[in-house]
């Protein structure tokens, strides 16, 4: 079957999609967007996390046909969405790099999408909020502390930008 949906603001069409195929497979293997990772295919690891009509979901558990006509955001779209100038990382991505929250990097795309959504809802999250929001994302390398640091850093910088913005206003 053919599936047409929007990914990171652009309309994409995938042909010859098998009816039982996941959104994750379509993104990675048919649309050339391998940022979302495939590790468990059973919703346990969160490395495939994308936004489906804004809501964070495991792309491995969404049937491709269920994405028809919908809007998907993947890690590939975060920089542009954040308004970062061409070629630059989004603030959340930059915070992960700066905090040393990336080791092998396999879990990172899912964590970035989940963190981005958390900070949209909760610009100043408590540690409990962060743990809750990231509880569906497994990392086998970092021990999570650096990831928590990265989220706090991104939140703090977000706050700074907001305050700078206010200060700049007459």
């Amino acid at each position: 079957m053919r599936v047409t949906f929007t990914v990171n603001g652009r309309v994409h069409e995938a042909d010859d999609v098998w009816e039982g195929e996941s959104l994750l497979y379509v993104l990675r293997e048919r649309l050339g967007l391998p940022g979302s990772k495939n590790a468990c295919e059973q919703g346990e690891c969160g490395s495939c996390t994308v936004r489906l009509d804004d809501v964070p979901v495991c792309a491995c558990l969404v049937a491709a046909g269920q994405a028809e006509g919908r809007e998907v955001v993947t890690v590939e779209g975060l920089a542009e969405r954040s308004g970062a100038p061409g070629g630059r990382l989004s603030p959340v991505q930059q915070a992960f790099v700066d905090a040393g929250a990336v080791q092998c990097g396999f879990c990172t795309p899912g964590l970035l999408v989940a963190t981005d959504e958390l900070l949209e809802r909760h610009p100043d999250p408590s540690d409990a909020d962060i743990r809750e929001a990231l509880s569906g994302n497994l990392c086998r390398c970092t021990g999570y502390e650096k990831i928590l640091d990265a989220v706090r850093l991104a939140a703090a910088r977000g706050g700074e930008t907001a305050r700078d913005g206010e200060a700049a206003r007459p």
């Binding site: 079957m1 098998w18 009816e19 039982g20 996941s22 295919e41 059973q42 919703g43 346990e44 969160g46 996390t49 809501v55 964070p56 979901v57 495991c58 491995c60 558990l61 969404v62 049937a63 046909g65 269920q66 028809e68 989940a114 809750e132 929001a133 509880s135 569906g136 994302n137």
Partner: protein
Amino acid sequence: MDFLRPASWAEALAAKAEHPSAVPLAGGTDVMVEINFDHRRPEYLLDLQRIGELHTWDADGPDVRLGAAVPYTRIIDHLADELPGLALAARTVGSPQIRNRGSVGGNLGAASPAGDSHPALLAAGAEVEAESVRGTRLIPVEEFYTGVKRNALAPDELIRAVRIRKATGPQQFSKVGTRNAMVIAVCAFGIALHPGSRTVRTGIGSAAPTPVRARAAEEFLAAALDDGRLWDTRGPLGPAVAGEFAELASGACNPIDDVRGSAAYRRRAVGVMARRTLGWVWGAYRGNEGRGAACA
């Protein structure tokens, strides 16, 4: 495989009547795992995500009529006052990503004895609204579970909604697992006080082939509360009453040994959860907010 994408509820019922083997697909958090791992190759997938009414609820009457596909996240955010037990149970399901997709209709469709909705539905009191082109029937939730991963739906039926009594008293839910997130219950317990009818209802998960009520425990407690005029006085519950309630709840289990826990552990843990949750709801009924003070 065919992907059926009905645009309306009437079309979905017609498709299910025409293809009774079609597998309904709501949030996909059970179905897609089975497909990804080749455990299931249905001839037809019947996508229910485009049917608006399955994603809404009506809370105007004494019941909440909860659309089958409403995701757990929305229950937690919007229905915690009306359905506190179910909202607590929903909070323990999987992870945010799973709660954003998974639904009570899907939990009932899967009918796993470990499904977290079930103890809460049993304790609150609920009927499953099953519909087909032949008509609608309301199945009391205790009659809905017919065996391990089996339910009372006919091949041409779909779940339209679940009608759940609105809480008129405190409700609690407790679940044993190895961690907080992303854990299938080793066993679980739900309890609801119904001061209007002076009854208590319970639900046990993952400790019998199907979710069950601990009826002997419910009857014992209702009688003890009546005898002591405790519904009126809101006096304290004696340890003997709580202990007997726990024993009877434990006795309602018919568990197995499996990788998640032994039968003996489950029996004991259900008793402990029954005693604790009773302490919590009775404390709340007496006007002590929160769990802390009453922790068993």
